[in-house]
Subunit: 142 residues, 2 copies
Amino acid sequence: MTWTDPACPVARTLDLVGDRWCLLIIRDAMDGARSFTDFQHRTGVARNILTDRLRRLVDHGLLQRETAKSGRRQMYVLTDAGRDLFPVVVAMRQWGERHTFAPGEAHSVLVDEAGLPLPDLRPTDSRGNPATIDTTAVLHTD
Amino acid sequence: MTWTDPACPVARTLDLVGDRWCLLIIRDAMDGARSFTDFQHRTGVARNILTDRLRRLVDHGLLQRETAKSGRRQMYVLTDAGRDLFPVVVAMRQWGERHTFAPGEAHSVLVDEAGLPLPDLRPTDSRGNPATIDTTAVLHTD
């Protein structure tokens, strides 16, 4: 793997999943998609692109291939690292809800076991207070 | 704007910023980059791609153009919607820290005003308990 910006964790994450289709596949895997057909129906992506992205996600350790009990179909299951993208997908969902829909416009909703939406993810500082761009800084390595 | 998957807030977010360079530009804007040259030095991206992505981010309302006090240089400043991508960038940074670095390998660090790293962003449910893929569900619109 050649990293775009090796010292930056944001950039490394983007090197692995910084592609619209990769993150939509991860989204659908979190929502129960398993087979090539599942992913194709849900994303609507072209077959050749889906083949490429599934292989890339397997190579990067975000999905693993399993054979269905019937022994016929390949299934794609999230690895622990893939499952751990949940905060990233939730943060993107919540930003989209806040900024890309008109008031009252219908959209899918992520709910908890009580059927209620999750509270907005908000970064906090080491003492638990809200953290923003203005109260944080990036320390760069030399 | 033609949305890839109009009812999904994750997909809408990816339509706007689901490109490695867009999110690296946002990252750098959060860290103080303002001019074309700032962004070029920090991202290392080719000039034609940077020009395209800056225009796209302005068109999508994530950056706004301002003229520097000298009256000579164009500056690019985050809008409120752009600033609000902070949770997305923090979630990506923390995932990258957890999964893409060897133990002890150097990387940039986001710190609060006390110089301490931010706690990991973790989704919670409506009662404040940890929420995971297994305890949440996506309700799709028809």
